[in-house]
Point group: C2
Chain length 357, copies 2
C-alpha cells in the first residue's frame, strides 16, 4: 500500500545540505546544494525553503556545516567561531522561531570539549527530522480518525511535506485520510497573495498521486454551500491558551463559512505551536507585509499607481469556530481554556519549544 | 462640489463609437475607435468593454454604425441588411443579455419606412445611456441614505462607471456616500481570478479622487472582525423573485462574513436585473469557466500540470443574508418573496428588460 509520501524537501547527502528550491516549483524541480554554512544561511534568507519546521531543519543542518568549517579553521578553538556562524544562521529569517529553536537545540549539544562537533550536530539534526516526521505521522493518524464518514476536504496554504521534514501537518492528515479511503476529493484554495495552494500544495499532492481541485479562495463558501466539503483542514502558526488559532490569511474566512455550512473545522499543528503563555489570539501581533505583494503579479503591476493595500500575513480564528485541534500529543475537541489546559498542562508546550511552526 | 464622476467608458464622438479599452487598464488609458459595426462587434467579442450595461450601450451604438452602412449600401432596401448586422452584433457575447436587450430595443424603433434610421438609432442609444445614468444616480442616492453612520465600506469586483454608462451601481452608491461624507474608507477585494477589483475598481476610484485600499478576497472576514467595515456593497447579475442574488464569485463569502460581524450587506442593481420569473437563486445555472483562468497568471503557468480547478463565475447569496436591495425603483429591506412582490409587481421588471446586468 502506498502511503502517498515521497517528498523530502531538506536532505543531507554526501556531506552537503540539499534544499528543494520551492521558488522554482511547480515549474521546475531544482535542488540547491549548500556546502557551507554561509550558503545555507543565504538559501534560508532567499526562501529556497519555507515552512517553519522545514526552515528549522535546514538551519540544524547548516549548523553541521558551520561546525565542519570551524573545526577546519581552528581545530582547538572552534567553539567561538561556530557560535558566530550559528548567530549568522539564526539571523537569516528574523521572524522564524523554529530556526532559532533548532539552533538553540544544536548549541546545547556542544561544549568546548566535544571531540567531533560536526558528528554530534549531524545526529541531532537527524533527530529533529525524525521527531518531526513522527509527530506528523501521529497527527495524520489522529486527524484521519476524526473523519468518520467519507467526504470532500478543503485545505489552505501549504502545510505539507514541503513545509516540514515530510508528510506535513494538515496535509499529513489529508494523506492519512486519503490512504484510508476517508476522503472523496481534495480541494485546495489557491491562497492569495503567495499562491502556496496553487503552487505548492497542488504540486506535492499530485507528486504523491492524490488528485486535487484548486479554487479561488473566495469560492470556498460557495463550494461548501454545495455540500462538497465535509472537513476544512488547516495548519496553525500559533495556538493560544484558549484555543485561538493564528494561521495564514484566509483561514478565518474558511472557519466562518465552515460553521455556517456544518462542515467540520480541523486545525493540525505540532504541540510546539501551542503557546500556553498567550491568553488569546488577539494577544498576537499580526504582521502586515508590503502592499506590493498584492499590487503586482509575477513582477507585473496589476493595480494602478496610488492604490493602497492591506496585506496581513495571518488572521486569528477564535477557538469557538474550531471543532478539533490535532497535535501529536492528542486531540482537543472544541478547544477552550479548560480543554487546552487539560491536554497541554505539563507537556512543556510553548516553553522550551517554539511557537510558530 | 465634485461628484467623483468623470469616467464614460463608451462614447459616441465624431460619428464613431469610442471604447475605453478595459483590457489595458490600469496600465494604459487606450481608446478603441469603431468606425464600422463589424469593428464594434469585434471589440465586444474581444472584451474591450465589459459590464452588462456597458456592453448593451456599446451594442446600441454599434447598431447606429450598422444602420449607416446599410443605408450607404442599399438606400432603398436597407432593413434586411441592417437586421443581419444586428444579428452579428448580438452574437458577439453569447451570454450577455443586455446586449440582445439593447439590440431588440433598437430594432423596435425601425420599420422599412423610417427615413433616417441611423439618426433614430443614435437618439435611442443616447436614451439608453441617459436612462442608465439616471438609474445609477438614483440608486446612489437611495443606497447612500442607508448609511446612517460614517464607516468603512467594502466592495467586490467592478460595478462602476466602467461597467455601466457611468457612475455605476454599487460603486455609484459608494460615490454618492463618499460625496456625502458617509464613508471613512473604501476597501476593495481584488476579485480573483480576473482581478477586476485590483485592476478596474481601484483605477476608477483613484481617477475620481476616492482613495481605496485593496485586499486579498480571503482577508475580508479578518478585516470585518477588526470592525473596519460597516457596509458591504456589491452589485448583482440577477436577483430572483425571493430576493436571492447571483453575483460575482466571492459575493456569498462576503455575505456570510458580514452577517457574522454585524456589517450591513447591500446589493445594488438596476430593476432590470430583477427576474421575477425565477423563484429562487438555485434555479440559476452557474457558469463554470475554464480551469486555466485559475491555473495561470498573466499567461504564466502557476499550478502544476495535472491540477484541476473549480472556476465558477457567480455564486448565489440567499436573500436571508441581504439587508437591503437597492434599485432605481426603490429599496427592499431584508428582501423576501413578499417584499419583492410588493416592490416589483407591475413594474415590468424581468419581462421586457434583461436580467444579467
Amino acid at each position: 500500500m502506498t502511503d502517498y509520501d515521497t517528498i523530502r524537501p531538506v536532505r543531507w547527502e554526501r556531506d552537503r545540505l540539499m534544499l528543494l528550491d520551492q521558488r522554482a516549483l511547480p515549474g521546475r524541480t531544482r535542488w540547491i546544494q549548500c556546502e557551507s554554512s554561509a550558503a545555507a544561511a543565504q538559501a534560508i534568507r532567499d526562501m529556497v525553503v519555507r515552512g517553519a519546521p522545514a526552515i528549522g531543519i535546514a538551519a540544524a543542518y547548516g549548523a553541521v556545516l558551520a561546525a565542519r568549517e570551524a573545526m577546519a579553521a581552528a581545530p582547538t578553538s572552534w567553539l567561538p567561531r561556530l557560535e558566530q556562524a550559528l548567530e549568522h544562521l539564526g539571523a537569516a529569517r528574523p521572524t522564524a522561531v523554529n530556526l532559532r529553536w533548532a539552533l538553540r537545540r544544536q548549541r546545547r549539544r556542544l561544549d568546548a570539549a566535544t571531540p567531533d562537533p560536526a558528528a554530534v550536530l549531524l545526529r541531532e539534526a537527524q533527530a529533529i527530522v525524525d521527531e518531526d516526521l513522527a509527530a506528523n505521522r501521529r497527527m495524520g493518524v489522529l486527524g484521519a480518525a476524526l473523519m468518520t464518514e467519507p467526504g470532500g476536504v478543503l485545505t489552505h496554504c501549504n502545510t505539507g511535506s514541503l513545509a516540514t521534514a515530510g508528510y506535513g501537518t494538515a496535509l499529513g492528515v489529508i494523506r492519512s485520510a486519503w490512504m484510508e479511503g476517508r476522503i472523496t476529493r481534495v480541494y485546495a484554495g489557491e491562497t492569495r497573495p503567495w499562491l502556496q495552494g496553487a503552487r505548492l500544495t497542488a504540486w506535492e499532492l499530485l507528486q504523491d498521486g492524490i488528485p486535487v481541485t484548486l479554487l479561488a479562495d473566495s469560492a470556498a463558501p460557495a463550494l461548501m454551500r454545495s455540500g462538497a466539503v465535509r472537513w476544512v483542514v488547516v495548519g496553525a502558526d500559533r495556538v493560544t491558551a484558549n484555543g485561538d488559532v493564528a494561521n495564514k490569511i484566509g483561514t478565518y474566512a474558511l472557519a466562518v463559512a465552515a460553521r455556517q455550512h456544518g462542515a467540520g473545522f480541523m486545525v493540525v499543528a505540532p504541540r510546539s505551536s501551542v503557546d500556553m503563555t498567550l491568553p488569546h489570539g488577539d494577544a498576537i501581533d499580526i504582521e502586515c507585509r508590503e502592499a506590493g505583494e498584492l499590487l503586482a503579479l509575477n513582477g507585473h503591476r496589476v493595480a494602478p499607481a496610488g492604490a493602497d493595500a492591506w496585506n496581513p500575513v495571518f488572521d486569528i480564528t477564535p477557538a469557538a469556530l474550531v471543532d478539533a485541534l490535532v497535535t501529536e500529543a492528542g486531540v482537543v475537541h472544541r478547544p477552550d481554556r479548560e480543554g487546552m489546559a487539560t491536554r497541554f498542562a505539563g507537556t512543556g508546550a510553548g516553553d522550551a519549544v517554539p511557537a510558530g511552526q
